[in-house]
């Protein structure tokens, strides 16, 4: 166990050490690549409350989270969640409908195929034109990024339900809505969840881009702002925060996945 831990950490820590030494010895300009220790100090600075604690604050918890980083973290997470709910909320019903009905599939498929390859980023000019600045264009871009992965996976999940389940269900007397809700939907669930997971990943990319362009808060905005001031240590601290938030979102999705698919053959219960 200890040996494994050593194996896993020796390379990253070694690199950090070399990096630290290189910048301290001025072989690398710290303006270009600040030392890890400097990044950590800046990170703490970024995270801690702006003003010392006073009675005027709404309480110690509110004060603790009154720093720049917690507010950025909240703003970014909020946008991802709202955008994800809009995108998935539209894609799921449409995907289920397109998967279940050939008529709806034929009606919508050509349009979907035309729109799908356009990267959400390409919608930025339109998003600003339509929604101005602030949260709305960000929601739009994120929802768009979430929409297609969820849609495509839901359609394919429903359309490729193993026919043996359908045969068994019809033999047992299922049909219509019952067949859809109790057999087709759970059978398609693994792929629907894959779509949701990919979707939130794309949505997370979109939120950072949107914040760099259309909003003036959030993690994406912050690292671009730091560049204006040549604060490379803050840029890296912001990037690390983005990475950790992404990891957190993915871990949460993974947990949900494992819980909902505890019956699934590929997953071992841990």
């Amino acid at each position: 166990m200890a040996k494994q831990l050593l194996h896993a950490t020796v390379l990253p820590f070694g690199l950090l050490l070399i990096w630290e030494l290189l910048t301290r010895s001025r072989l690398i300009n710290p303006q270009i690549l600040p030392a890890p220790s400097q990044v950590v100090l800046r990170w703490i600075d970024y995270a801690k409350p702006l003003a010392p604690y006073r009675e005027a604050h709404l309480g110690p918890v509110a004060w603790l989270f009154s720093g720049e980083l917690p507010l950025d973290l909240f703003a970014t997470s909020y946008r991802v969640v709202v955008g994800f709910l809009i995108g998935a909320g539209l894609a799921l019903p449409l995907g289920l409908l397109m998967g279940a009905s050939d008529a709806v599939y034929k009606l919508c498929n050509s349009l979907v195929q035309i729109l799908r390859p356009i990267p959400p980023i390409a919608y930025i000019p339109l998003a600003i034109l339509w929604f101005g600045l602030g949260n709305p264009p960000a929601f739009f871009l994120i929802a768009l990024g979430v929409f297609f992965p969820v849609l495509m996976n839901t359609i394919s999940g429903v359309r490729h339900v193993d026919s043996i389940y359908l045969r068994a269900a019809r033999n047992l007397g299922a049909g219509g809505a019952t067949l859809f809700l109790r057999v087709i939907l759970p059978a398609a669930l693994p792929q629907i969840l894959t779509g949701l997971r990919v979707g939130i990943g794309v949505g997370f990319i979109c939120v950072i881009v949107a914040e760099m362009i259309a909003v003036n808060s959030g993690l994406g905005f912050r690292i671009l702002e730091a560049r204006e001031f040549f604060w490379s240590d803050k840029i890296i601290a912001g990037m690390l925060t983005i990475g950790l938030l992404g990891l957190g979102i993915d871990t949460a999705m993974n947990r949900l996945n494992n819980h909902l698919l505890r019956w699934h053959r590929g997953l071992e219960s841990k």
Partner: protein, 277 residues
């Protein structure tokens, strides 16, 4: 040896449970037409155990699917429980070779599913499920998911699921084909007990000659392409049957010869089509 025994069907007084009359089935692929079944006539009495035996490609599963209502015949007609078969239904419960359990439902959930579809009261469902799980030795597995069960256990669940329907007819499509020999024998014995206790009419597809003699009242031997009834062989041996008894062995020899004739035609066909490729 002469296929013997006074018509076993005569022992059953009621109307036949399943009546297959002049049934044919052909599939079209492009310009070619494949005749899978041709002029099949078969009457199955209530409570009878029928095995359909034949080499792969003889259409035995096609016939079973037609009785189940999954794929209707292109000519002739099938009556089950006195009604013409037009769609799948819970009066003809089916056990599949691939188990076909719903992996997202627990063992108890799978068994209860058909009853829930019938909208029975919850308490009645619970009682029925409990009784069936007990009967098939599945009680301690009731909250497991199918992925955690062995093949034999899965097939027990599939049988319990069909028994729950309380359907007079039980269709079985090579249900024990994927099991090891010992599990297979255990399940065969269990099936025979269930057959007697629940008074089921069983239509059982297999390609194992020994299995068909071990289980059936009558064995229906099918020809290879187009699938038709080659012979109907009654099995006059009382249960429990000893696979080493002279009577069993003699019957096995007779049936093997019949099936081998069809198997040879099948192999010739396979080689022929391989040469064409």
């Amino acid at each position: 040896m002469e296929a013997c025994h006074p018509a076993a069907a005569g022992a059953y007084e009621e109307l036949p449970r399943v009546q297959i009359a002049g049934v044919g089935k052909s599939f079209r692929s492009g310009a070619a037409e494949l005749v899978a079944l041709k002029e099949i006539d078969l009457e199955i009495g209530s409570g009878e155990f029928i095995c359909i035996l034949g080499p792969s490609g003889c259409g035995k599963s096609t016939l079973l699917n037609a009785v189940a209502g999954f794929s209707l015949p292109t000519s002739g007609r099938i009556l089950a429980n006195g009604r013409e078969v037009s769609s799948p239904g819970p009066d003809r419960g089916m056990v599949f070779q691939e188990y076909a359990l719903f992996p997202w439902m627990t063992v108890a959930g799978n068994v209860a599913f058909g009853l829930e579809l019938k909208k029975l009261p919850k308490r009645q469902i619970a009682e029925r499920v409990d009784a069936l799980l007990e009967k098939l030795g599945l009680n301690e597995f009731r909250d497991r998911f199918p992925k955690d069960l062995s093949g034999g256990m899965k097939q027990r669940v599939a049988i319990a699921r069909v028994l729950a329907l309380d359907s007079p007819i039980m269709l079985m499509d090579e249900p024990f084909g994927a099991l090891d020999a010992l599990t297979r024998r255990t399940l065969q014995d269990e099936l025979l007990r269930i057959w007697v206790e629940f008074k089921k009419t069983v239509l059982f597809v297999t390609h194992s000659i020994q299995e068909s003699i071990y289980l059936a009242d009558r064995v229906v031997v099918m020809t290879y392409r187009p699938g038709s009834v080659k012979r109907i062989v009654p099995v006059p041996i009382p249960h429990p049957r000893d696979i080493n008894s002279p009577q069993f062995v003699a019957l096995q020899k007779e049936l093997t010869q019949m099936v081998m004739e069809e198997q040879e035609r099948f192999q010739k066909d396979e080689l022929g089509s391989a040469a064409c490729d």
